[in-house]
């Protein structure tokens, strides 16, 4: 099941399946760890709802929704046991 990364809720984990962005932007995102096969966890939303902070590759990276909605990912069933602690 492919869902846009922007649709994940804080606390959910996903595996990136596709970064549907132009090559240059893909490369930029890749430097921060967003690439096919990477495990990404949605951590929290900024107070005004956008951008959203993701935990990826051991660091915390914020993406705007306009970018996150172009990244497709499949959810990992690792539920509420890991809350945004």
């Amino acid at each position: 099941m492919r869902i846009r990364l922007s649709e994940f809720e804080p606390g959910q984990t996903a595996i990136v399946e596709e970064v549907a962005l132009p090559e240059a932007e893909q490369k930029l995102l890749m430097r921060f760890g967003f690439f096919e096969g990477a495990e990404v966890r949605c951590l929290r939303r900024a107070p005004l709802g956008d951008p959203v902070v993701y935990s990826v590759d051991g660091s915390e990276v914020a993406l705007r929704t306009e970018t996150a909605c172009r990244i497709f990912a499949s959810p990992v069933d690792r539920k509420a046991c890991e809350q945004t602690a």
Partner: protein, 624 residues
């Protein structure tokens, strides 16, 4: 935490050459700058690489009685020349950068807590074939958060020596000296195709797992702190308090300090002046050189106060959170959250604001921020605003006792500047500075206690850059204006202001400014205030033969006599828009590393001021 691994050196070919220059390279947020400061112990120089906006930091470090030059390369994630930063790094490593000797060795700084990601940079760096030492920085944090790495295995895989260090604590750094004493070229290992980011990424992940890399646990207390600082309610509240504190301090502490310094320097100049007997030379010293020096130095308190705050915010990790909170709002004008603090600072003074725009990585966003910052109502506009409002706007209650007509006028001028800034930003971002839709990606670093050393270094660095580089331009313009006000000589004496070259210029430009409702007196004021906006009040005082300090009322009366109401309003609007500030222009030149942008900015703002003043003058004349 002090493991230098020379295990890989025996089979490597010995480099014969003496090492004189070494390059320091690493991704952003790898603690590279802290390390650079540690290694060089303040013995640094800051400049610009020729032709681009990238700052060049070089320092000197002593290794076994030898002085070795360290070139601190800009923070890069890869060596594919996409950005200026990457191009600079590649050129320096290739030895193609003017004025920088080719480095004979490389120090590669990687964040040990982020190793899987940061290792991608190792491949292209090692591929250069220069003797390289990998420094796994923040080794203390890695251990503290239960992560680990087998440095011996990593060194074997990379073919270069590896040391675990902590730049903040200063541990493990003796490895650098030992490496530089007998640096060896890397041993041949299989590297990925270094141009392929994806390949490098995969390679990095493989190397990390082969060297038993155990990433650290999530930073628990950082996340707990974020639960509050990025909370829906508390987050914005703390943000406002922090922003208020910054604004209040820059304005409330920086401004009085600047004023006090101004008084002190003026007094010093006047104390020294009697020692110069020749009247002409005394005037050159006092009104030309010393006034120039003063006008440079009075900016220092504000710059230092602002950078103290920015240093604390950035080093603690809060600046990234503030940018995250402000991002949504800033995106409406096409900018991102990182532009918020610089733009806010511009309400006090555009100079430190423009220098602070350095925290914005996206070059176009940074340029847009630099170009709109001078529209914000800075404190230098207040003297002329206050004078004209007092002279031309009668005090009447507008909203009961809460808002009078004068306060309303002042408020409108603030709004006017803000609207001009926003409008310009929108215009720039939808045309010349339209970003290649580079997505806004921002790393949120772990919270850390800022260190006195690193904040202090930043203050010294910024202060020095401003005084050295902007100072020269300001001094030149100040001397030029002095020359124009004191020439031509009549019987060996400087002329009265109304007979000076600047007055002739004032008369000369009068036809151009007459449609705005200004006479030649105002013209002279506009010309002299190119040094700084507040200068116009003093000039007008001299021209009308009245001391603005003691005869404010009579200066107001003189202005009422010379200016119509519509002309006065036009003058206010002119000052809201015009780029009457050499310091700002000098800093923009310094930050963009060319005269192109300050020139464009000057022409744009002055034309806008001209057109707006024209419209205001004519509309109000018709209405009256």
């Amino acid at each position: 935490m002090n493991q230098l691994l020379q295990t890989v050196s025996p089979s490597g070919p010995r480099s014969k050459q003496q090492i004189r220059t070494v390059a320091l390279i690493g991704p952003p947020n790898s603690g590279k700058t802290t390390l650079f400061n540690r290694l060089t112990n303040l013995r640094q120089k800051v400049g610009n690489y020729s032709g681009i906006t990238v700052e060049q930091h070089t320092g000197v470090m002593a290794v076994a009685d030898q002085e070795i030059t360290i070139v601190d390369l800009p923070g890069v994630y890869s060596l594919n020349p996409y950005s200026d930063d990457e191009r600079v790094a590649v050129s320096v490593l290739n030895g193609n950068m003017d004025g920088v000797p080719r480095p004979e060795a490389v120090l590669l700084v990687l964040d040990a807590t982020n190793l899987t990601r940061h290792l991608s940079l190792a491949a292209p760096v090692i591929a250069f074939g220069l003797p390289t030492l990998a420094l796994l920085n923040m080794g203390d944090l890695l251990a503290k958060r239960s992560g680990s790495i087998d440095a011996v295995k990593l060194a074997g895989d990379l073919g270069i020596p590896v040391a675990i260090v902590s730049a903040t604590m200063g541990t493990g750094l003796d490895a650098v000296g030992r490496f530089l004493e007998r640096a060896n070229s890397p041993i041949k290992t299989t590297l990925p195709i270094v141009q392929d980011v994806r390949e490098c990424r995969k390679w990095a992940a493989r190397i990390a797992s082969e060297s038993d890399y155990r990433p650290p646990l999530p930073p628990a207390w950082s996340r707990r702190l974020d639960d509050i600082l990025l909370h829906k309610v508390w987050g914005p509240l703390v943000f406002m308090i922090v922003v208020g504190a910054v604004f209040q301090t820059v304005f409330g502490l920086g401004q009085p300090l600047s004023n006090a310094l101004q008084e002190l320097l003026t007094e010093m100049g006047q104390k020294a002046a009697p020692f110069i007997t020749n009247g002409f030379l005394r005037s050159l010293f006092l009104d030309g050189i010393w006034k120039g020096v003063t006008s440079v130095l009075v900016f220092l308190p504000q710059i230092l106060v602002l950078f103290l705050f920015i240093g604390l915010l950035e080093d603690s990790g809060y600046l990234a959170r503030a940018a995250l909170i402000a991002d949504r709002t800033m995106s409406f004008v096409g900018l991102n959250g990182k532009a918020f603090i610089p733009l806010l600072s511009a309400y006090a003074c555009a100079v430190p604001a423009i220098m602070a725009s350095r925290t914005i990585e996206n070059k176009r966003d940074r340029l847009a921020t630099i170009l709109i910052a001078p529209f914000m109502t800075c404190s230098a506009r207040l003297p002329i605003y206050t004078l004209l409002i007092a002279a031309f706007i009668p005090e009447r209650p507008v909203v009961g006792v809460f808002l009078g007509s004068r306060a309303l006028a002042m408020l409108l001028l603030y709004v006017l500047g803000f609207v001009a800034a926003i409008g310009t930003a929108k215009m720039l971002k939808s045309s010349v500075l339209k970003s290649t839709p580079a997505p806004f990606v921002m790393e949120l670093p772990e919270y850390r206690w800022p260190t006195l050393r690193s904040v202090g270094l930043r203050l010294m660095d910024r202060g020095r850059v401003f005084v050295q580089q902007a100072g020269t331009v300001i001094l030149c313009v100040s001397l030029l204006v002095w020359g124009l006000t004191n020439l031509p000589l009549y019987h060996g004496h400087p002329p009265a202001l109304e007979n000076s070259a600047v007055a002739h210029l004032g008369h000369f430009i009068e036809p151009a400014i007459r449609p705005l409702g200004f006479n030649w007196n105002i013209g002279v004021g506009l010309l002299t205030s190119v040094v700084a906006r507040e200068v116009i009040v003093g000039t007008l005082g001299t021209l009308y033969g009245r001391d603005p300090q003691t005869h404010s009322l009579s200066l107001q009366a003189a202005l009422q006599h010379d200016l119509t109401f519509s002309g006065a309003m036009a003058l206010l609007v002119f000052f809201a828009f015009a780029m009457q500030c050499t310091s700002t222009l000098a800093v923009v030149r310094r930050e963009t590393n060319s005269w192109k942008w300050p020139l464009i900015q000057f022409v744009y703002m002055t034309s806008l001021a001209f057109v707006a003043a024209f419209i205001v003058n004519h509309t109000l004349s018709i209405l009256n």
